[in-house]
Every structure is written in structure tokens, then in C-alpha cells.
Amino acid sequence: MSAITAEGVRPRKKTSPRKRAQRIRIVQYGVLVLLVLLGVIFIDGRQVSQVFFRPDMISKALKEGLPLAFANTLAFTGGAFVIGLLLGTVLALMRLSQIAPYRWLSVIYIEFFRGLPALIVLMAFSLMPLALPGLRIPLDPYGTVWIGLGLVSSAYMAETIRAGIQAVPKGQVEAARSLGMPSGMATRRIVLPQAFRIVTPPLTNEFVALTKDSSLVYVIGLTATSFDLTKYGRALSNTYANITPLVVAGLSYLVITLPLTFLVRRMEARQAKSK
């Protein structure tokens, strides 16, 4: 084939890669400009702002109870995170245990709770007192949410923490043991501090995910003082038949999550540099 075409026939002149890249860029900018134009032509700005950003609604939302709802969201998330972290650490250590039944239990737990929607776990857990009449969960509804969301997030965190523990070099344990530390002390003093340093970025991401998952608490029937951001925004939106409060509540989540994701990015950059 090539022997025939190579002689005499001049191949068609191809555009250089640089030229082609330039053309693709022009097309991409063109699409962007087109979209903006369409938006300007077809979207009535006043109407949109009346529905999503009505100034009087914004101030109403901020005044009436947004700070409390914000604090509640933080409380729901923080408590669930602490429980998830503690339980997740235990599960991770069980997963790496020498004793097989502990490993099995941990795997079963992790796969069970990772596979279920958090919404269903939370619903089921809020109905626990029906099944076990003697059961009283302290600090209701906070206790219910902390345990329900904590159970789910611990399954995710366990896998993360396990990876962190395994990322600590074997020589660290050997050095600790050679200094006479018993195995438990070596884990607590030498392995876990390093493992948590390694998994701080993914755990922060888990906190961000949990912040958003805390909006699921609407399924368990809250009183007005324990409304979280989403529930509060929805209630206000229903009252005034305007969606602005919900938008304000939604943006409030960004106040929590954006700084955290920014922090994670910096930590990851630092970790990458120190390697």
C-alpha cells in the first residue's frame, strides 16, 4: 500500500496541530457567546429576581430564623460527624483485625450501610422507639439524627480510615514495637496520628457531604426550633408562596462547604508538595 502511494502522489496538506487547536478554541468561545445571548434574549431578569431573589423575602428569611436554622444544620452535621468518625475508626481497626469474625462483621456493616440510602436509614431509625418501646434516644431530635446519619457516614469513613492506616509504612510499627511499645500503643501513638493526617482531606470531603445530607432530617418530623436550613427555607417558602427563602437557605450551605473545599484543596496541594 504505502509503497504505491508514497511515490508521486502528494498527500493532501494537513492543518498543523496548533492551527487546529486554535479553531477548536474559537468554536468553544462561539458556543459560550451564543448561550449568553440566548439567556439575555429569552430570560426576563425582573421576573427571575422576583421569584428567586426578592429583596424583602431575603431580609425576612435572614431576620426570622435563619441563624437558628444555620446553627441547627451545623449541630446535626457536627454530631453525626463525630459519631461517624469514632465508629468509623473502630470499624477500620476491626477491618484490619487479626481476628476473622471482626473482619467479617466490619465488612458486613460497611457494605450494608454504604448500599442503603441515608434517607431510609434515618426514617427507620426515627421509628426505632416504636419497635423498642423502652428505648429513649437522648437529646431528641438531635440524638436521632446524630446516630442515624452517623451510622451511615461511619461506613464511608471506615473505608477511608482503613486506607489511611494501610498507607502508614510497616517500618513505623516495627520501630515502635522495637522500642517496647505493645501493639495497641503503637497503633494509638504512632499509626493513627499519621493515618489521620493522611486522610484529613477525604474526611473533610465527608464532612461536606454530611452537611448536605443533614437536609434529610425533614423526614423525621421536627419542631420549629429544631428546623435545619432546608426545612426552614421550605417552610418559609410555603408560607409566602415564594421560593426566595429556599434559595437563601441553599446559599447558606455554601457558607459552610466552600471554605472547607478550599481548605481541602490547600491541604492536598501541601501533601503533594511534601511527597
Binding site: G171, R177, L179, G180, M185, Q194
Partner: protein, 290 residues
Amino acid sequence: MSVDVTIPTGNREDEIQIYDLHKSFGDLEVLKGIDLVVHRGEVVCVIGPSGSGKSTLLRCVNLLEQPTKGRIFILNDEITDPDADVDHLRTLMGMVFQSFNLFPHLTALENCSIALTQVLKKSAAEAKAIALENLHKVGLGDRSDSYPLKLSGGQQQRVAIARALSMDPELMLFDEPTSALDPELVGDVLSVMRDLAAGGMTMMVVTHEMAFAREVADRVIFMDGGVIVEQGTPEEVIGNPKEERTRTFLARVLDPTHVHTPDDEMPPTGASAHEKPVVPPVHRPNIFGH
């Protein structure tokens, strides 16, 4: 090669006693029956080709590797006894690793003091004083607040030695302590070890540093294939080896460009050095044709 004494010797001067030590990893038998007694104040250097089992031997002494068979006594306490207080016996032995294994989340000082407060239950103030003293001893008193990753390899290894010394051990185990170091940093670590030996510390050193072994060791042990092939004073083993395997190894280590020839049967006199290895001409396949 067996030790014809009762087990254990009962002699307080015999710090490490190893009897008929075997260690297998799966089907691979790495140690095939080692007998060895290290006396108080003795510096024993273990040399041999990689894979000869010398690091495994050292790691069996403080039970970082569980022997397949055999008995090991530390100061006449059997560490291989299933009921032995292994953690306590380990506090009597300082261990220095090839890859330092400093704790990166702790400062140099904390690396040296953590086992003092946690294991030996000393007060924080006392632990700090001991740690500082040992950091001074290895020439790093001024770097006590540095984290390991801010130190050079040679400095890290010296902190690791200070960490082991802080436990006030009866004996020290060194597992190729200079093998991971840049050549210009080896000297500082060796000079610390030389000082230790001069101070009367019992030391078992797995090393490739022949000059160090020749100068500091009281006894050199040559291992190959999981057995002790030859042992004696440095002059005997390094200077005038009896076994052919020892000669072959030493010829290779002392002259890395050395090519094994039948002449190696004789002690290296330089005769074989005349034979230059024949380098085959580089063959470049002709991919262009003519």
C-alpha cells in the same frame, strides 16, 4: 558449627544466645540453623551477599520476625518462649533500621522521648532531659525541635540512634544503618557508631561497610545461603578468608568491577585484575536498509 554448652549458658556476659535458628518464608528457608553467642561489650559485624539471611537473623533477635525453629536468649531470658515478656525484652535492645523509620509526626526530641514516657513511664521532664542528652551525644542537640523530614538522611539516622540509646539499652542492633545514605553522609553515622563501640556497647551490626567492620568489629561473621560460613577476627575473615565463598564475596565487594574467573580460587593477589572483561561491541540493528 554448633555451640557445645548448656542452653542457656547462664553466663551474664552472654548477651545474645542463638541456638539452631531456622526461619522460612513460605517454602523459602532463609535461615538454616544459626548458632551464635554475642558477649557483653562485643561488636559483631555480620557481612554477606544480599539474600544471605543476615537481616533476617538480626530481626529474629528482637522477634520482629518470628523464628520457625530454634531458641534465642537475651541476657539469659528466652525471647522465643511463648510466655516471654517480649515488650520488656525489646526495651533492652536498641534497633536501628536501614530506612531510619523515625516517626514523622514527632520532632527529633519527641521521637527520642515518646517511649520513655509511654513505655518506661518516666516523667516528661526526665524523658526530655534523657532525650536531649542523647541527641547531644550524636551531635544533634541543636536540632531537637526539627521534624524528621527537615533533616538530612545522615541526621535522621543519627536521631534514630539517639532514639534507641534513650532507652538505655543493654545492646544495639544495626540493620544496614548506612545503606540508604548518600555516600558523603555515611561518615557521620559511622563515627557515632564507632564512639558507641569505644564506649563498650554490645553491638550486632549487619553492614556492607568493610572498612568499618575491619576497624571496629571484634568479630566478623560471614553468612551465605542462610548459614554462617566463616567467623573470626576482622583480620581472619576479611584479611585472610579461609572459605572460597568468603573470598568470592569479598572480591566482589572490595572491587565492584571484578569479574568472577576461575582464578578466584586463589586469594586475590591482583593477578586476575589484568584480565579485562571483554565488552561485546554494541550491536545496532540496521533499521534503514541501504
